[in-house]
Symmetry: C2
Subunit: 385 residues, 2 copies
Amino acid sequence: MREIAVIGIGQTPIGELWDQGLRDLGAESLRAAAADAGIERPDALFVSNMLATRLSDQAHLGALLADYAGWRGIEATTVEAACASGGAAFQAALRAVASGMIEVAAVCGVEKMTEATTGTVTSALATASDADYEVSQGASFVALNALVMQRYMYEYNVPHEAFAGFSINAHCNAVNNPNAMYRKAITEQQYKRAPMISDPINLYDSSPICDGSASLILAPLEMARELGKPLIVIRASASATDSLSLADRRTLLGLDAIKLSADKAYAQAKIKPQDIQVFEAHDAFSIMAALSLEGCGFAEAGKGTHLALDGAISPTGRIPISTMGGLKGRGHPVGATGAYELVDLVTQLRGEAGTNQVQGATLGMAQNIGGTAATVVTHILERIG
Amino acid sequence: MREIAVIGIGQTPIGELWDQGLRDLGAESLRAAAADAGIERPDALFVSNMLATRLSDQAHLGALLADYAGWRGIEATTVEAACASGGAAFQAALRAVASGMIEVAAVCGVEKMTEATTGTVTSALATASDADYEVSQGASFVALNALVMQRYMYEYNVPHEAFAGFSINAHCNAVNNPNAMYRKAITEQQYKRAPMISDPINLYDSSPICDGSASLILAPLEMARELGKPLIVIRASASATDSLSLADRRTLLGLDAIKLSADKAYAQAKIKPQDIQVFEAHDAFSIMAALSLEGCGFAEAGKGTHLALDGAISPTGRIPISTMGGLKGRGHPVGATGAYELVDLVTQLRGEAGTNQVQGATLGMAQNIGGTAATVVTHILERIG
């Protein structure tokens, strides 16, 4: 397999973007990524999206965004794996280029959530879970994550306030990201006083409903060299699945797909967890940040929150996460999130993260989690020049 | 790029399948395909589906079907390109194997349409078109195809009854397909007397709302040899797009993506249209069958219906289409249709099509059309042993 590089990135700010529809958001980040790469037109487009058919009455985003980006005619499809759609679309693009059938591929994560009522969005997000055996019982997606968090706190005897560090880190990092939704720091006191959403998940444990789009351009490494781009190569691309329903798992806390996906990625890249210098984790809920850190081998089971308490996850710590704000601070436009994680990771590896730069980072990982970890997609990227 | 073969196929009957949900249908065709291939477990699953988030409140079908097929843990995603989802998922699977990152890939097209009201299904199907500029004006998907048919009849001076041959051929072939929804022949008189749906599209110009699932297993050619399977290799896989909105096209009849996709496929396979011995066309509406035949070079513009009138499209004709009933007779469970087309094509190339066998067919094509030809995916398969 030939080596593949990320040669361009682009993004819109995340927020309540009333002026822009799906097609505007997607086209904006795609054109930004193409300009960054210095290319006129990719050969193929891989869109990631989860909710447009329900919230915007629009399927078929591949052809739509290819057209609105100015590339009518090119091959285009949409890839969906709930909240892991972005990572999955990036993987599809990687393979298209790796197969030799496509030279330049664009990935566009896009989601538009704020034009619908909260109830409508809650119902749409629940489609990530098992409709017949979970949602039909009245469980929302937040409620299912709350079950996991409750069990975690009980099983490992961890108090709720131990999770504060994840939100504080994410919001602190978002302050310096002009594309982040919440550019304000929060304190431990604010975290403790936050209104409860689904006990024990409070407002600061949970990522926001928002709009946004992020794009990346992939090409063979030799093309990156010819274009004089920073050489950011994809060292690993690994997916794994689990049952959708939590009730079908070995245990509520055994999120096997996180570990399976990460271990496959480490094996592909021939590295160990301690080699990772920056980690864009999927902190949709603070409990997911903890479980992701544990499943990926950065902390023992039940001890993920320790990393948040001792500063290890900050940009100057030993395993920085959510360096541009993460899902909590930057925002979580679900189908676009995996693309944002990868854009943030590339920004770090290029040394363009400004105040939040992880000094000297050349090897990093992004993990995109769908549902309650029923799909997990892990990518490892390295800067080699 | 290494050569890739189809080593297994499986399908459920198409119809109103009240006893089976999405997961049952998908798992049934996947297990049938794996048994046909003689494999225990693929490395990756590519699901094609368009409507489940709206009609069954269920996204995230990749992980769900991997689990219910008995393969919890394997990589899995969903690929969507409206009615062209099946062809697009097959292409994604092909590239995964061609890249060398996956050895054995499963494709599962699945759709469950009959549990919703007709109005709900009509609204869901309209998401294939432009929500902001077509559907917001009240256009249903059938109505948009009716505009194209009306223009075609006017532009080329073709009477409505000239299209009868497509429906007669499809229904005649479906009689001998145990998996087809409508196993009864129709006459020209029945066609002429059929109730109008959206003028000039009548009941027999239009494919039905239905449920079904079809699956295929892809692997490197050397594995097909080792397993002693018929050697059905993928000679071409080509996609193209156009604007979603008909109003943005050069002309109402210039379905450029059909021609672009077919021409790319011929170039990849290094063949001409006249080399194709069997063609699974996307006859969702009889007008689409005519335009597909023309765009693919089997008839001149405006003369597609001539092939239906003179018997050329029958299994003994010079360009047989819809050999197992097509979308009209076999059925059109939209997200699954591209997979059914490919399963039917493989059935022909294996020489297993029974009464409908195209004698001596070794080279065939399947074309999957999404929206009003905003996405077109064309595959050419050849039996080499």
